[in-house]
Amino acid sequence: MEEHRDDIGSRMGMWIFIFTEILLFGGLFLVYAIFRAKYSAEFHSAAYELNTFLGAFNTVILLISSMTVAMSITAVQKGDKKLALILLGITILMALTFLVNKYFEWGHKVHMGIYPGSDLLKQFEQGELMFFGLYYFMTGLHVFHIIVGMIILLVVMYKVNSGTINADKFVLLENGGLYWHLVDLIWIFLFPLLYLIT
């Protein structure tokens, strides 16, 4: 019996989900834009606290991982299962590196006493409070997407290995890749807005 499948419809569904994610983060960017307009001086001084080097390093990591996941589709299309698995493995390792960097970045801030609800933060100006609130919420929601992306890519890796995803049928890999690129897209805007506006 002919198996029913609709790859275009499947990718369309993933894109529509991505649109909802863009509007979710879009709303947060809008909140950021309004408060930045209101407290521009405080946003400037607060952004000095962020580590530009770590932010830039994480940008590079995400861009490379986006390339490896895109390359893994090429590898699967060419029937090179081993290379596809290696590329997906590198992507997940990159994601882990991102999380480790984030741990040190947040850890350093918490150590300095800058975290939501801390006594030090309560003494800050209203604008700086807003900046750090948005910083923790937006990067936190983004980190949550990184973790979900890692789980999706692990499932995809398992299916590439078992042959469920192959040169003839790889829409799940494409959709997993689309999700991972979304994580990259969000960071492309988060990085200049939070780390570089000083």
Partner: protein, 95 residues
């Protein structure tokens, strides 16, 4: 439907070229913030970010090789978001 046999295979070298372009733009964004442009800094940083997003969507997300309907959807969503920003700031400015 045999659509899955028409899939475009992007060569590895294309992905590598896209990555190099994106990395170059990232360093350009960082460099721009060290130049004193005043209010223009944010504008330039956002412009570069938009170019990067366009590149990721076009090549990494394969929008270039998708059915045209996907492009209309993406353009529609970005127009919708631009409209939301415009309306919100319009409201904010005249309060």
């Amino acid at each position: 439907m045999d659509d899955h046999h028409e899939n475009h295979i992007t060569p590895y070298i294309t992905h590598l070229k896209v990555l190099v372009t994106l990395l170059f733009l990232t360093f350009a964004t960082i460099a721009v913030t060290y130049v004193e442009l005043g209010a223009l800094t944010v504008t330039v940083a956002l412009l570069i970010a938009t170019v990067k997003v366009f590149i990721v969507i076009t090549w990494f997300m394969h929008l270039k090789y998708e059915e045209p309907i996907f492009r209309y959807f993406v353009i529609g969503v970005f127009l919708l978001f631009a409209l939301i920003i415009f309306i919100t700031f319009f409201d904010y400015a005249f309060r």
